[in-house]
């Protein structure tokens, strides 16, 4: 069984503070949701995750974009870099970090759900036969991905995996399980190609996309519910899971 070997102390140094876990769900109707999956170099598959989590084989990095015209915080966009993993028996994704283009949304996402955010610009450009997504932070392009030839799928064909966000909570350093709900109205699948990715800028230079897998672009009613579970990052989920509220 593969188990993460990342230093919890090192991860803690870049974890955000999330002292207000829970609260009312955040509803974002008719959100655009772009998910891109790439196989990642396996050399650091264990080293990229804390000991509570298990890597997949092959390791998979996913970029998850939300563009929400309507939300409790107004219009905002968020781009996440995540590593697919397992928490106990559950399919999960460990958040490396996120970029958010709205300071109010970023504050809420950090304090209530443990998202490690930084400000930046996020663009989703739709062309006839492709979609281009870019993330710019501190003046540099840290992600540039093109999704070619989007083709319709049925809403039930796409699946999203819940986050594990490492954050300093009132219970201590915890992996915060964030379980967005997606009421998908329409979805397309395309072929992704990453033109630029700066792992170091996202917080982990070892994340290295090497092989394209899939990309999906959906329109969905997105709901981010209150947090139900947190996990200690240093022990397996069977021992370290705590119910919140």
């Amino acid at each position: 069984m593969l188990i993460g070997t990342a230093s919890v102390e090192e991860l803690a140094a870049r974890a955000p503070v999330a002292q207000s876990l829970g609260g009312e769900p955040a509803a974002c109707p008719q959100a655009e949701v772009l998910q891109v999956a790439y196989e990642s170099a396996s050399a650091h598959r264990e080293a990229a995750l804390p000991p509570a989590l298990h890597p997949t084989d092959p390791p998979l990095v996913t970029w998850l974009f939300y563009r929400c015209a309507t939300s409790p915080w107004g219009s905002f966009a968020m781009a996440q870099t995540r590593i697919e993993c397992r928490s106990g028996l559950r399919l999960r994704a460990f958040l490396v970090s996120a970029v958010v283009d709205n300071a109010v949304a970023a504050e809420a996402l950090q304090t209530r759900w443990g998202f490690a955010t930084r400000p930046g610009e996020i663009a989703l450009r739709r062309h006839y036969d492709s979609v281009r997504a870019t993330v710019v932070a501190d003046g540099a392009t840290i992600l540039d991905v093109v999704v070619a030839d989007p083709d319709p799928l049925a809403p039930a064909d796409v699946q999203y995996v819940a986050n594990m966000n490492l954050a300093h909570t009132s219970r201590g350093l915890r992996l915060v399980q964030v379980e967005p709900g997606y009421q998908v109205h329409r979805v397309e699948r395309g072929r992704p190609r990453v033109a630029a990715f700066d792992g170091a800028a996202w917080g982990d230079a070892r994340v290295a996309p090497v092989h394209p897998v899939s990309a999906s672009l959906a329109v969905a009613d997105l709901t981010i519910p209150g947090v139900r579970f947190v996990c200690r990052p240093d022990v397996l989920a069977f021992e370290g899971t705590e119910r919140v509220g």
Binding site: T56, D57, H211, V213, F229, G240
Partner: protein, 362 residues
């Protein structure tokens, strides 16, 4: 009711020394003992790249070793992956026929299409196409085995007329099966007149529904070859006189298997497609499906872990709903010492199998 063993050939880390050899030798010893004890069949998976979970990438070779070391037990591919990037259909037919001849006509051929991205992605298989490929395979295999010469112009392969050799010993051909992990595949089996090889833990209610639908539908089938109307299910076996010890030991094995299974990278998780509507998990679902990462797998209904009396009761329940055979995983990543596995098989053969027929001793 018939009883079989089901081999994943899972290998514990670290992959050093002769650990793979030890796992393979232990499985062969279990196969020899099962043959002597009166088990009816043994089944061997085909998986690729699945570290720890299954190092069984060449099942036809393992089955050949089993054939040479056993006398009567039937030998099952559980199952051959029917996509040309992994197995050209001619090679499937040739290898199966050769094994059938060498084993004296003991082959059962399960078919499948793989459910993990690890495997499909590794061979650059388009997940959208695997169901079509599988369908084409099960329709041509009986023709390859029974026609003197075979030609084909199809979706996943085409070929000019050739004699595909050898021909299987069993006439008209070895029984065909399809692995069933998600609801609905039992209908695919029934429509084609092939066996329903359950490889995922199912509840009593789900299995009863699945079996009823299969029996009803196969009456109307358009058979791809000789009809094989049988329903097999997957289970986990650990038998001990002390029910507490049986539960402790057997459920430890189940837990290891469930964890390894849950950590596989399913196609559905990586690649959105209508061709994979479920994750394809073999292990039972968590006890409480509320999303807690702390949940462990539930103990499945009708599990064949317990003392002989408990197991007989469970098997009778499966039998009552029309299940023809139960194939059992008997170890996972060598978590059980080999002696305990062999003792469990002996006790099962002595106390459980006779409840369903005569003639087994240990």
């Amino acid at each position: 009711m018939q009883f079989g063993l089901f081999f994943e050939l899972s290998v514990p880390r670290p992959f050093t020394g002769d650990v793979e050899r030890r796992v393979f030798q232990n499985a062969l010893e279990q196969a020899r003992l099962a043959d002597e004890l009166g088990f009816d069949s043994l089944w061997v998976v085909e998986h690729h790249f699945l570290e720890e979970y299954s190092h069984c990438s060449a099942p036809e070779i393992f089955l050949t070793a089993c054939a040479m070391q056993t006398k009567r037990i039937r030998l099952g591919h559980g199952a051959v992956v029917c996509v040309p990037e992994m197995n050209h259909p001619v090679r499937v037919a040739e290898r199966a026929a050769m094994l059938d001849v060498l084993s004296g006509g003991r082959l059962e051929l399960g078919t499948a299409r793989s459910s993990t991205w690890t495997e499909l992605g590794g061979f650059a298989v388009d997940p959208d196409d695997t169901k079509k490929m599988w369908d084409e395979y099960v329709r041509v295999l009986p023709k390859m085995w029974t026609q003197e010469r075979f030609a084909h112009d199809g979706f996943s392969f085409s070929m000019p007329e050739r004699a595909i050799l050898p021909k299987p010993l069993q006439k008209p051909h070895p029984p065909l099966w399809v692995t069933v992990t998600s609801p609905g595949t039992e209908l695919d089996a029934a429509d084609r007149g092939i066996g329903c090889l359950g490889v995922a833990a199912a509840t009593y209610a789900e299995q009863e529904r699945r079996t009823r639908e299969y029996r009803r539908r196969i009456k109307l089938c358009d058979p791809v070859g000789a009809v094989n109307e049988r329903v097999a299910t997957l289970n986990f076996l650990y038998c001990h006189e002390d029910p507490k010890r049986a539960a402790t030991t057997g459920l430890a094995m189940l837990g290891v298997f469930s964890l390894l299974n849950a950590h596989l990278l399913s196609t559905r998780e990586a690649y959105p497609t209508r061709a994979y509507q479920s994750l394809g998990n073999l292990a039972p679902r968590p006890a409480a499906d509320d999303g807690s990462p702390g949940d462990r797998r539930a103990v499945p209904e009708g599990i064949t872990i317990g003392d002989p009396g408990e197991i007989v009761a469970a098997v009778k329940r499966w039998e009552s709903m029309g299940v023809d055979s139960i194939n059992c995983i008997v170890n996972a990543a060598e978590v059980l010492p080999q002696e305990e596995v062999l003792d469990s098989l002996c006790l099962f053969a002595r106390e459980v199998i006779p409840a369903f027929r005569r003639g087994s001793t240990c």
